[in-house]
């Protein structure tokens, strides 16, 4: 069931916490006792959405498992900025092996824990879109089909950011990257959440860093279940998307509110809940603040491309019922 926000408490559950809310309804992030699984001192860019998404997700998972959690990380921004010798920002047991094997390493950890009878210790795997949808796809699919007891978290910033913003199969149409300088081609790309659902695994969800309560709820829900679980988190990238460092959350919110990034939950391949759009906005409002879409506005306005993107958003809205208010 989709997360039901608390209403009429000034900010309800839109904000991280609120002194008026009962503590159990506040986000994990509002607590002074949150794990800070990704602690200060890491080398992420200013305003990095992935740093935020990772801390959000892992803190929630830590709370859900009573701090009995192990993480396997793919190569990428998150791994590089968090563990440059001699400094690590991670507060939980953590391993980085290779670019494409985070899911398999996590499978191995889960198997070891099972062999040793340590049932209470849980495993997460995390990686960026490149490490998940492209090079890590084989291992991910293997983990899914075996239903290994792993929660895989994909932090999607829609390109290979750590190597300098190259296109991945998660890059959206029209986006400019270092290897799609004229804008990414339409009708390419992989819909990983749909692929995950096609594997019939116990839990699949999408989320963004703009909706903390929703993301935490999904991580907690995932940790209540066993078997292969997948959460796809949209994380903004100021450098790669070309927006101001203080706009990361706002841009992620716009991705959802336009309908371009549908936020939902599914179990065993069936859609179970949808996070509705609060105030629908046209895609242009999302595209304008990002320099990776600047070529759609200058030297001349590409209304044909913008219309095509609007069409994608509208079809998402229809397919997922993103504007159908619950009765």
């Amino acid at each position: 069931m989709a997360f039901q926000p608390v209403k009429y408490y000034q900010t309800g559950t839109f904000t991280v916490g609120n002194r008026l809310l009962p503590p159990e309804v506040r986000a994990v992030q509002s607590s002074e006792r949150r794990s800070n699984a990704l602690n200060s001192g890491h080398r992420a860019c200013q305003g990095c959405g992935e740093a935020l998404g990772a801390r959000y997700a892992i803190d929630a998972a830590m709370q859900a498992t009573n701090n009995r959690l192990i993480a396997a990380n793919a190569t990428g921004c998150l791994e590089v900025f968090s563990t440059p010798y001699p400094e690590t920002s991670w507060q939980l047991p953590w391993i980085h092996s290779l670019f494409g094997n985070a899911a398999a390493v996590a499978t191995g950890i889960a198997a070891a824990l099972k062999a040793k009878g340590k049932a209470g210790v849980r495993v997460v795997a995390q990686g960026g879109d490149g490490g998940t949808t492209d090079i890590g796809f084989g291992c991910l699919s293997g983990m899914f089909e075996r239903n290994d007891d792993v929660l895989y978290l994909c932090y999607d910033n829609e390109a290979y950011m750590n190597t300098g913003v190259q296109r991945s199969s998660a890059t959206p149409p029209a986006a400019r990257t270092a290897t799609t300088t004229a804008g990414n081609v339409f009708n390419e790309g992989k819909n990983l959440p749909a692929i995950a659902m096609a594997h019939g695994i116990p839990y699949v969800a999408t989320a963004t860093i703009a909706d903390l309560h929703d993301l935490e709820h999904k991580v907690k829900r995932a940790m209540q279940l066993c078997g292969a679980r997948y959460i796809h988190v949209l994380v903004s990238c100021p450098l790669g998307w070309g927006h101001a460092s203080d706009a990361s959350i706002r841009i992620a919110r716009l991705a959802k509110e336009t309908g371009l990034f549908p936020v939902f939950e599914a179990e065993r391949g069936e859609l179970t809940s949808v996070s509705h759009i609060r105030h629908k906005v046209p895609v242009e409002e999302y595209l304008r603040p990002q320099r990776r879409f600047a070529h759609l506005f200058a030297p001349k306005l590409r209304s044909d491309v913008i219309a095509a993107l609007q069409d994608i958003a509208d079809r998402n809205i229809e397919r997922f019922g993103l504007l159908d208010r619950p009765g």
Binding site: G41, R43, L52, T88
Partner: protein, 542 residues
């Protein structure tokens, strides 16, 4: 104990050695901005402050914070025209917060629970005379008493309250509410002498051994206009009519009452006339509805009660049972010009509500005063031209409302206190305004304003029961929680949550937050996602 391989495996917490704060070019700072409600309140209430307590369910705390500035919340909640609500930023989201309703709720709650003011912390102050027990005088007395002074109020009339008693009808302000709030002020040790008119200020000051005087006599003399009238024409003035409502005998206005004027007093009289049994109460006003000085909400209530209005009309002549009105039209400058068209209206009485003048008699012989347009000029410290004589309320140049009067009383009290101690009262630093563009409105729940219930029309017409009922606790709480807390941190934990570098320290409930500048990279997410705009980014000094 693990034998960890060199460099490949790292110990927890080692990243804390990397002080990423050195990356900053902008630094975040917590700021307090001045909410528009606070800025707009003539009584200078910390509205955002007491709303914050009310929304947490601490009604007494809210009432105490409110009454730091204004001792009459139950009255305010009924008669104030709430410029705070007009300025409220929430109005740009859905509707302004019902601050006025909540103030009334708190005031009523205080009366119901018998909360009293704390005894003044100081003592041994000076003797101060307050002339007039209206809102301005009562407010000054309250604040002076809190500052430890011995205050004596001399009121010419038989009851305290000023226009609150003698100008505003019972159906807007029940007298038991007014009495309760007045008594609470007197319980602080303020001496009140009723039926004691001060004929000569200097004399009264001298004889009473007062060190300073605050004049707040109000404007109780109804303005007259020259209207040719026959011998049997019954022409009264609104101030007298309303005042006489307090007495044992009701004024006899007849069945068809004409009220001349367009202010709130005119409306009060017309609505009172209806309640007294007039079958017709017609307001004759020389300009249009847009130009009418009366508050539109009160006009609405009046119209609902059956009061009628003749716009763009002036009275040419009055006879025993009728009047002659002339139609006006507005010229290009907006001034009404006669058209020559006449009309006759039946009338048993004509009540003039054309404004009020101040009785300046008590100021005779006081040197140094500057009087212009019938009011006494005062400096920014509320002192007249004569040292030690201060004045406020309707008798000085001002917008004539109860709230403004209360604000004057407070301001004067502070300046009097300073003057008596040989100092100057300097207002503390005023914060930058918390304008709407500084907010991040996404974070506020969608919640429309609650509406106050009103009496049935028929009942309203025939009784003097209070028309607008207050909010119940649930509604008041709901309403208080619509407050955006503009420019003032309300501990929503957003900054603490959205920092990617975990560089915000949560100090604990009620203690707010602190930035950890060792790690803050200056990305600005905290400022961008602060709902109330209580964080600003300033250039870092490099």
């Amino acid at each position: 104990m693990m034998r960890k391989p060199f460099a490949i495996t790292l110990d927890r917490g080692s990243s804390l050695a990397n002080h990423t704060g050195t990356w900053r070019t902008l630094r975040p700072q917590y700021v307090d901005r001045l909410p528009p409600c606070n800025a707009g309140c003539p009584a200078g209430e910390d509205i955002q402050g007491w709303l914050a307590r009310a929304e947490a369910g601490d009604y007494e705390g809210a009432w105490r914070l409110l009454t730091e500035e204004n001792p009459l919340p139950a009255v305010m909640g009924r008669v104030c025209y709430h410029p705070c609500e007009g300025a409220c930023n929430r109005g740009q989201l859905d509707e302004a917060v019902g601050i006025n309703s909540i103030e009334r709720f708190l005031g009523d709650e205080a009366i119901r629970r018998g909360w009293s003011f704390d005894k003044p912390k100081k003592s041994g102050g000076k003797r101060v005379l307050v002339v007039g027990a209206g809102p301005s005088g009562l407010s000054a007395a309250y604040h002076l008493a809190r500052l430890g002074h011995q205050v004596e109020i001399r009121e010419a009339g038989p009851f305290a309250g000023g226009m609150m008693r003698f100008g505003i009808p019972k159906y807007r302000l029940p007298r038991d509410v007014l009495d309760a709030e007045v008594q609470r002020i007197l319980d602080m040790g303020v001496v009140l002498k009723l039926n004691t008119k001060v004929a000569n200020v200097l004399q009264a000051k001298e004889e009473g051994g007062f060190h300073a005087v605050f004049l707040a006599v109000g404007a109780h003399i109804g303005k007259r206009a020259y209207i040719p009238a026959g011998a049997s024409a019954r022409i009264l003035d609104a101030v007298s009519v309303l005042r006489s409502m307090e007495g044992a005998e009701r004024p006899q206005l007849g069945r068809r009452v004409i009220v001349y004027g367009g202010g709130n007093t005119a409306l009060d009289v017309a609505r009172t006339a209806k309640r007294l049994g007039a079958s017709e109460a017609i307001i004759v006003y020389r300009r249009t509805r847009e130009k009418m000085p009366a508050h539109d909400s009160e006009l609405e209530e009046a119209l609902q009660e059956g009061v009628m209005v003749k716009w763009l009309s002036t009275i040419r002549q009055a006879e025993g049972s009728s009047i002659t009105v002339e139609k006006m039209k507005l010229d290009e400058k907006g001034f009404p010009q006669p058209t020559g068209e006449l009309e006759t209206l039946a009338a048993d009485s004509v009540v003039l509500a054309l404004g009020q003048d101040v009785d300046l008699g008590l100021l005779d012989g006081v040197p140094g005063l500057e009087i212009a347009d019938g009011v006494v000029k005062v400096g920014p410290n509320m002192m007249t031209g004569h040292a030690g004589i201060f004045a406020g309320g309707d008798m000085v140049p001002s917008e004539r409302t109860v709230t403004v009067g209360v604000g004057h009383g407070k301001k004067a009290a502070r300046h009097i206190d300073a003057w008596l101690n040989g100092k100057t009262f300097a207002k503390s630093r005023v914060n930058a305004p918390a304008s709407f563009d500084k907010l991040n409105p996404w974070y506020y729940s969608d919640a429309p304003k609650t509406m106050r219930p009103t009496l049935d029309i028929v009942r309203r017409q025939s009784t003097f029961d209070e028309v607008l009922r207050g909010l119940d606790e649930k509604s008041a709480l709901f309403e208080a929680r619509r407050c955006l807390s503009c420019g003032n941190c309300f501990e929503c934990d957003n900054c603490y949550g959205v920092c990617p570098d975990n560089a915000v320290i949560k100090l604990g409930p009620g203690k707010g937050f602190e930035f950890n500048y060792d790690y803050c990279k200056g990305c600005g997410l905290c400022a961008a996602e602060c709902p109330c705009g209580a964080i600003e980014m300033v250039p870092e000094s490099i």
